[in-house]
């Protein structure tokens, strides 16, 4: 019973993914058709490749969607085993990462990296605060030294620290 429910959920997730991809490809194809097929001198225009790719991609996605809706889910490497919190977890990880990138430009590379590392480690390696703090500080320092110092990347300076 649980397995059947998981399969239905997996097929529904796959159909949603393929549906979203069909929408993106439809939008891409529509834009492709706004570009010229050929130039005034009868050479290939900028629209040839996007139109061809869009039409072919859309057709393939629709075939795959039809197959999924007909109960023939392709089930990728995680298909059956994916837990039902998969999507919220992805959203949470993406959210944490976006915060890191934003802090990168506000606090500077060193502090942002340290905070991001500390935050992530407190979730995936809980209870070892001292070790996590040492790793976070070390990671931020070493990478900053490597990229900013040796490779001359010049990361944006932060509000509180110049690096």
């Amino acid at each position: 019973m649980t397995s059947a429910r998981t399969n239905v959920a997996s097929a529904r997730a796959e159909a949603t993914f393929l549906g979203a991809m069909a929408l993106v490809l439809a939008w891409y194809t529509w834009h492709g058709f706004q570009l010229a097929w050929s130039t005034p001198s009868s050479a290939i225009g900028p629209g040839l490749f996007p139109r061809s790719i869009g039409v072919a991609g859309l057709a393939m996605t629709l075939v795959l969607l039809a197959r999924t809706l007909a109960g023939r889910a392709t089930s990728g490497e995680d298909g059956a085993g994916a837990n039902r919190h998969w999507l919220p977890l992805v959203a949470a990880l993406v959210g944490v990462y976006v915060c890191f990138v934003m802090l990168f430009f506000v606090l500077g590379a060193f502090l942002a990296t340290g905070l991001f590392s500390m935050g992530l480690l407190s979730v995936i390696n809980p209870g070892r605060h001292l070790l996590n703090a040492v790793q976070s500080a070390g990671l931020a320092g070493i990478l900053l030294l490597l990229f900013d110092g040796l490779l001359g990347t010049n990361f944006p300076s932060g509000m509180f620290l110049p690096f």
Partner: protein, 519 residues
């Protein structure tokens, strides 16, 4: 005999303490750069180019060439250990290198890769000396139709070798092509899918997408699976670090593929535009096709590491042939090398070997020494790099994500690249979950502009007629190869099925599990 004399002269020219130090530094720095996610040979040469400004032209080019093949191998290290190819040429190495690492044989996979790379480097250097004029003669007859067919062959090879649905593989490749169309259209100068953003005019770079799809997505997927809770890591580290040497069977299984990959890779690499990616994929498919146990491929077969590794390193050497002899860069890395040549007032092309023989042959001679150094450094550093496998995921995840972010930002100092990397990571998670191929997307993204440009040139030459592909001898040969690439796995599978069916007749209940052409 003349060639040997030139080579000896070249060797004498580079055998100075300063040049040897530059060579060693180049190999080591290249390897370090190659290990960093996203910083492959192209980025490595570009970033380290200023370091060579104080050296003389010969020393500078020797160092840059050493960075080039050092970083090629560095990409292999990450491909094997964390399933993150440093650049597209090492994508094929992940197919079996990472499964080997997961089985606790990371050190062995890296030694096999180092040995194959060394063999390829030496074979490549010999071939440059002996067969460069011949290879140059062949590739000069290649025009846009042949280059377009070569690109198709590379992609078809990839789609054919993907485990799972061909339709999903093709869709993944089309997505890569679609991303490649973003930016300025090279033919007409029209902007496509840029929506007025100046940051998108240059297109979407392959590197952030590759870092996101292979580096960050891999870590996120492992975290989502809860692997950080266990004592293990993405790589099974049960093997002792001292046990880095492959056993006799692994050596035996790797020697043939490495030799074949060396020769194949060199000639594919010598074809302008084809490069190490196509060479490594062709080698992988070749080895899988002729193997008696194709089902082992993708599960950690040593031949799946040795063949592509030899091919991509030999292709890196082969790519120097059109650059040295024709002045045409065969890849983005050799394009930067070409820029460095011009910076020092040297014009690569047919006259280079005549006017600056000590320089051209010095570079070729340095490849022999460089590959010996690469092998020695590799053997000594493999335990160091393989020790990454002993670190649990909970300690590796954050550094990988941060390193990927820093590496992505360092390329163009662009926050858009970081956003592209994140988007690619999320897309990669979904693609993996639903059985699509990230590798096909990446390769198509890399080859997309070349495919479009060569098709455009082909149709200009032929006044819009596709018949040109059947009118040119080289195109016809390549079309036949294309058909063979597609048909070969199916044909072999059918023959195997027939053979197995006839041998299984006495006991019909004991039906063997037969490999399919798609894995």
């Amino acid at each position: 005999m003349e060639t040997i004399n030139y080579l000896v002269d070249g060797l004498a020219a580079i055998l100075t303490v300063k040049n040897l130090l530059l060579l060693s530094a180049g190999v080591l720095l290249g390897q370090i750069i190659g290990v960093m996610p996203g910083l492959g040979p192209t980025a490595g040469i570009a970033i380290l180019l200023p370091l060579t400004f104080n050296a003389d032209p010969t020393g500078a080019i020797i160092m840059l060439a050493a960075i080039y093949y050092g970083s090629m191998y560095g990409g292999t290290i990450t491909a094997v250990l964390i399933n993150t190819p440093g650049e597209s040429a090492t994508v094929a190495t992940t197919f079996d290198g990472y499964p080997m690492a997961k089985k606790g044989r990371a050190g062995q996979a890296l030694v096999i890769a180092a040995g194959a790379s060394f063999m390829a480097g030496i074979v490549g250097a010999v071939l440059i000396c002996v067969a460069a004029p011949l290879a140059t003669r062949v590739t000069t007859s290649f025009g846009p139709p042949e280059i377009f067919l070569l690109v198709l062959a590379g992609l078809l090879t990839l789609v054919v070798i993907i485990d799972g649905s061909i339709l999903l593989g093709l869709l993944s490749a089309l997505l890569g092509f679609a991303i490649a169309t973003v930016g300025l259209d090279v033919g007409t100068g029209a902007q496509r899918f840029t929506f007025g953003s100046p940051d998108l005019i240059g297109g979407i770079d392959f590197v952030p997408v590759a870092i996101g799809m292979f580096g960050v997505a891999e870590v996120l997927q492992a975290l989502l699976r809860g692997e950080h809770r266990g004592p293990g890591s993405p790589v099974d580290s049960s093997g002792r670090l001292r046990d880095i040497w492959p056993n006799r069977q692994e050596v035996r299984e790797s020697t043939g593929p490495a030799a074949r990959g060396s020769v194949l890779g060199f000639f594919v690499g010598a074809t302008p535009g084809a490069g190490a990616t196509i060479a490594s994929l062709m080698s992988y498919n070749l080895e899988k096709s002729i193997s008696k146990e194709p089902e082992r491929f993708g599960q950690g077969a040593p031949a799946g590491v040795a063949g592509p590794e030899a091919a991509n390193n030999a292709a890196a050497t082969g790519a120097l042939v059109p650059m040295l002899s024709l002045g045409i860069p065969g890849s983005s890395s050799t394009a930067i090398l070409l820029g460095a040549f011009l910076m020092w007032g040297l014009q690569p092309g047919p006259l280079l070997m005549e006017q600056n023989p000590e320089f051209a042959w010095g570079l070729i001679a340095s490849m022999f020494l460089g590959n010996v150094m690469l092998l020695l450094i590799n053997v000594f550093t493999i335990p160091v790099f393989a020790s990454i496998a002993k670190v649990p995921l909970r300690y590796l995840a954050t550094p990988i994500i941060v390193l990927a972010t820093y590496g992505t930002y360092a390329i163009n100092k662009s926050v858009l690249d970081v956003a592209v990397m994140l988007a690619a990571a999320v897309l990669g998670l979904f693609m993996r979950r639903f059985g699509m191929s990230c590798a096909a997307l990446i390769i198509a993204l890399v080859l997309g502009p070349l495919a479009e440009m060569s098709l455009r040139q082909t149709l200009i030459i032929s006044d819009g007629s596709l018949g040109i592909f059947l009118e040119r001898q080289a195109s016809v040969v390549l079309l036949a190869c294309l058909g063979a690439i597609f048909a070969l796995p199916f044909a072999i599978s059918r023959i195997r099925r027939r053979l197995s069916a006839s041998s299984a007749k006495p006991s019909e209940t004991d039906e063997p599990k037969l490999p399919t052409p798609l894995g």
